[in-house]
Amino acid sequence: MKKEQLLDLYYQMVLIRRVEERGAELYQAGKIGGFMHLYIGQEAVSTGLIAAREPRDRVITAYRDHGVALNCGISADEVMAELLGKATGMSKGKGGSMHMADVSKNMWGGHAIVGGHLPVAAGFAIGDQYAKNDNITICMFGDGATNIGYFHESLNLAKTWGLRVLWVCENNQYGMGTSVERASAVDEIRQKAEGYGMKNAAVDGMDVMKVYEAAKEAMDYIRKEGQPYLLEINTYRFRGHSMGDPERYRKAEEVKQWQENDPIGIFNKYLLDKKVATRKALDEIEARVEEETNKAVEFAESSPEPTMEDLYTDIYADA
């Protein structure tokens, strides 16, 4: 990867972190409603993953979607505006935190029913297979989603029909407050792909370069073979499941231990050690992110609310 690309990955990870930290403040201040699930700690996963895609490849994810949205090129302004429910959000304020999409950037949401978007992802690949192109659908989901029927129907169909889907399990160790070993018959999620004869791998999700390499390899296989692939990416969310999480299910020491493996810290060190960038250059990126985030908050706060007419638009395409 070229220097500019590496620095761009760093910029994306810091942007996700900062946008979400500001989002959390706005949530506490009562300016953001509903559920909000932070990606903090998992930034390397979507950043490495999305960096490996071609623009024509589709991305679909679960409700922990702010980071994925930013990685796909949706602006911090739009992310913040959608969080505040403003008309300038990418879903016009109708979707909120859990439903961020911009299909012009091949980011297809933000889906809030656990596992519900997996068959839809298979459907994107059915559409692409029918159109006889070699687009890949990258479908991200949590470890919790691998215990629900949708997951199994989707993997079975993808392998049976030869659908180009990269199934990405972001294993952050907990489905809400229930740990993987308490909910899943196998601790190693990738083993579930074996039952469907599907190629699979697991990778350390705290290291963006490792994620990128693993995703690249998986996508090369999918594109060439016309077969799906399951990639398990092991990671950890530093914050609670959502904003209202008392975190009774894990110990502070465990969180602290993972935080020592901060994906941004790891990548920062990598860039310095490999002499890709000077500390000054990284500081400049952080300053740029700070400015962009401030601007996004201003943009969102000063943006108009949706109108009463908007209540009744977008229900149907035909009159």
């Binding site: 879903s91 068959p119 839809v120 298979a122 459907g123 059915i126 977008d314 395409a317």
Partner: protein
């Protein structure tokens, strides 16, 4: 006008639209090699091949979720549910996905999807395979629900549904595939969301759809012999609901019954009666009566099953009651 069966009408609509638009394909259980469990897609697999007539695993979430995804990225899938009872296995895709995705993402894409589903009782299939749960699906904004009662409407409405850019649940009745009716020659479509007067009369209004239409037409013939002329309004589409012809007829007759095969409680009849009371209260000369299925899961035994389902005699009796 040619006289064809409901099965032929639906089959013709599918074939004509597949010939017209290469983005249209069919996916579902046994739609291909088998030819469809009700033989609606017989011959399709040989004509169009496995890419356009896709046999799926028995996995309703994958069928409907897959069809939704394909529709979002620009294809025009027709997903078939072998019976509407299996829709409950994939309720998420009808309720949480098809009906909501466009709205939730601010109208960024269209969802041109048809879900064909066979419903209805009367074939001794037992409680889980005999339901008429149409009203449940008509509850959700974002979805359109169509359920025709004649071959002409089935063909014209299905063609419109396939051309529509919105998700549509198209409900057929398991006992009506052999029903014959006149169908216009050549190309035609019928707009979704338009009720239709299927029989004119001056004495009372019967509001119904699908299987209820077949039963109501028979009841109307009997009533006619006794000098009672019933006007029959066929809803054809449950959502969006077109009340205009219903209200127009009611303002003329001032008396109505509503006939549906589903259960009475919280049903289509409940909605129609409410709407008449809300929008034409001053025209009401007698309490409106609902004819519907008895409040039991449908039994296997033929006699018991028929006792639970609405019959022509029930409609005749209700009509006389409302005219008292």
């Amino acid at each position: 006008m040619a006289k064809i069966t409901m099965r032929e009408a639906i089959s013709q609509a599918l074939m004509e639209e597949m010939d017209r638009d290469p983005a249209v394909f069919i996916m579902g259980e046994e739609v291909g090699v088998w030819g469809g469990t009700y033989a609606v897609t017989k011959g399709f697999y040989d004509k169009y091949g496995p890419d356009r007539v896709k046999d799926t695993p028995i996995a309703e979430n994958a069928i409907l979720g897959g069809a939704i995804g394909a529709a979002m990225v620009g294809q025009r899938p027709i997903a078939e549910l072998m019976t509407i009872n299996f829709a409950f296995s994939a309720m998420d895709y009808i309720v949480n996905q098809a009906a909501k995705l466009r709205y939730m993402f601010g109208g960024q894409f269209m969802l041109p999807l048809v879900i064909r589903a066979v419903g209805g009782g009367g074939r001794q299939l037992g409680a889980t395979h005999s339901q008429t749960p149409d009203a449940i699906f008509a509850h959700f904004p974002g979805l359109k629900v169509v359920s025709p009662g004649t071959p002409e409407d089935a063909k014209g409405l299905l063609k419109s549904a396939i051309r529509s850019n919105d998700p549509i649940l198209f409900i057929e009745h398991a006992t009506m595939y052999q029903v014959r009716g006149e169908v216009p020659e050549g190309e035609y479509t019928i707009p979704i969301g338009k009720s239709k007067v299927q029989r004119e009369g001056k004495d009372l209004t019967i509001v119904t759809y699908c299987k209820g239409l077949e039963l109501s037409m028979k009841a109307a013939e009997q009533l006619s012999k006794e000098g009672i002329e019933a006007e029959i309004v066929d809803l054809r589409t449950l959502r969006p609901l077109d009340m205009e012809p219903v209200l127009e007829s009611f303002k003329k007759t001032n008396r109505a019954i509503v006939v549906e095969e589903g259960w009475k409680s919280y049903g289509v009849g409940s909605e129609i009666v409410s709407r008449i009371y809300e929008e034409a209260f001053d025209y009401v000369d007698a309490p409106i009566i609902r004819v519907a299925q008895k409040e039991v899961p449908l039994p296997y035994n033929r006699t018991l099953e028929q006792a639970a389902l609405p019959q022509v005699a029930d409609i005749v009796n209700a009509a006389k009651e409302v005219l008292k």
